[in-house]
């Protein structure tokens, strides 16, 4: 799995190009070929993204065979999959080796997964998005423990960044579904939007809050992102209609 230095550089350039494509994506269907090419770029058997909610996988993009995806659904594996159970709304990356594979159901699941080509090694990166959103980004491969350990050492940070960027993209594309009136604004974000709603301009808001306009921009951007709004005016409108700020 270890490439010669020259091909390593080519691989990095390859992945960079794919990032550019990811940046430009604006539909879920764009993500399918991208995740395949990313999988190839990282030289692993599989790469999968799942947005998970309480009811089950909300949406998934990945390279597993459709047969395995169907099998997973038919057998209700979501309930016993040690990856789902082990990552559990935590935020550290998990090597599948460290999960609990001892229960009988888990062992059967594992042998099934291997039969469907998932691979004997895996790494899952939990992603906690805004408003309690939760997703998992996983790579899996068939190789020795030593090879996998080396792969993780070389690639984990990039995979963590990729995972979070991929999730950000999905949220952008599925953005309107995220808007939640119960979104939590920090006190300062709330204060900034309230003052804007009252008709103060940015300079006046910054002065009232005793902060620089640069800092104010950060608070407004934070609020806008949390509210899933397109711009400041939209953010203020969302905040008012949902009762988050009162003017």
């Amino acid at each position: 799995m270890k490439d010669a230095p020259l091909t390593q550089l080519n691989k990095i350039n390859q992945i960079d190009l794919i990032f550019t494509r990811l940046d430009k994506a604006n539909a879920l269907s764009d993500l399918d070929p991208i995740i395949r090419d990313l999988r190839d770029g990282f030289c692993v058997d599989h790469m999968v993204y799942h947005w998970v909610n309480a009811k089950g996988a909300k949406l998934g993009v990945g390279t597993y065979s459709p047969d395995w995806v169907q099998r997973y659904l038919d057998k209700g594996y979501l309930r016993i999959d040690p990856v789902i159970l082990g990552c559990a709304h935590h935020f550290h990356p998990v090597d599948w080796k460290n999960l609990d594979w001892t229960p009988k159901a888990a062992r059967q699941f594992l042998s099934d997964a291997i039969e469907y080509g998932v691979g004997n090694q895996g790494l899952s990166i939990p992603i906690r998005g805004p408003q309690g959103q939760y997703a998992l980004f996983s790579v899996s491969h068939n190789c020795s423990d030593d090879e996998w350990a080396a792969f993780i050492t070389d690639n984990r940070r990039n995979l963590i960044l990729l995972a979070h960027y991929f999730n950000k993209k999905v949220l952008e594309i599925e953005g309107d579904r995220m808007s939640d009136p119960r979104a939590h604004l920090s006190p300062r974000e709330n204060e900034a939007l309230t003052l804007l709603a009252l008709g103060y301009n940015r300079a006046q808001v910054a002065q009232t809050m005793s902060i620089s306009e640069h800092t104010l921009r950060a608070y407004i951007e934070g609020a806008r992102h949390k509210l899933g709004a397109m711009n400041t005016v939209h953010a203020v409108a969302c905040a008012i209609t949902s009762g988050m700020i009162i003017v």
Binding site: N98, I160, P187, T215, G222
Partner: protein
Amino acid sequence: MLRYLYADQLDEFPQLRDTMFRDRADQFKTRLNWDVSVDENGFERDEYDDLNPLYVIWETPQGTHSGSMRLLPTSGRCMVNEHFAELMNGDLINSPLIWECTRFCLARHATRLTANALMLAGGEVMVGFGVKQCVGVFDQRMIRIYRMIGAQPKILGQTGEGKDFIGVGTWSFTDELRQRVAKIAGISPLQSRQWFDLAFGPDQRLAQVG
């Protein structure tokens, strides 16, 4: 020993959990008189405890809290961005590779070993999970502690002086720093790694039995 527990795992260690929140009240309300809230159980908790953070807790042989700190990824909600953005002139920190450390607490009876072990644990987390940096907000008191431990932050921003001083800083962990902190602490890097592996390695479920 050092325990690494998410909020949703704390109920498996009720005594450790309760003594931690009570020691936090003692440290941050009683001793430092910070603007924090203490509930009817005598527990100090804030909004970030509800976000399922990762706690690193020093557990005494009696199973009680002696020191702790709380970790959250800056890619999600965190204190430094929501309450201390001014200190960074609005340059928010937003990366899954940068984790925020808050509520660094030492019980009244805590020894130097506790503080050292917690700092080492920060290093384990960085090495073990690929985290590049930790960021934290700190006051004058903590500067002395960091110096004693041998791991001083790179300061991103600050305000005030003396008792009113507040700073935001980051820590990276080179192998060299790790060795130095371990040496000062008198804790072998192997021991420190073992506590981490107990929590996150293949036998982690044994750790949860308490």
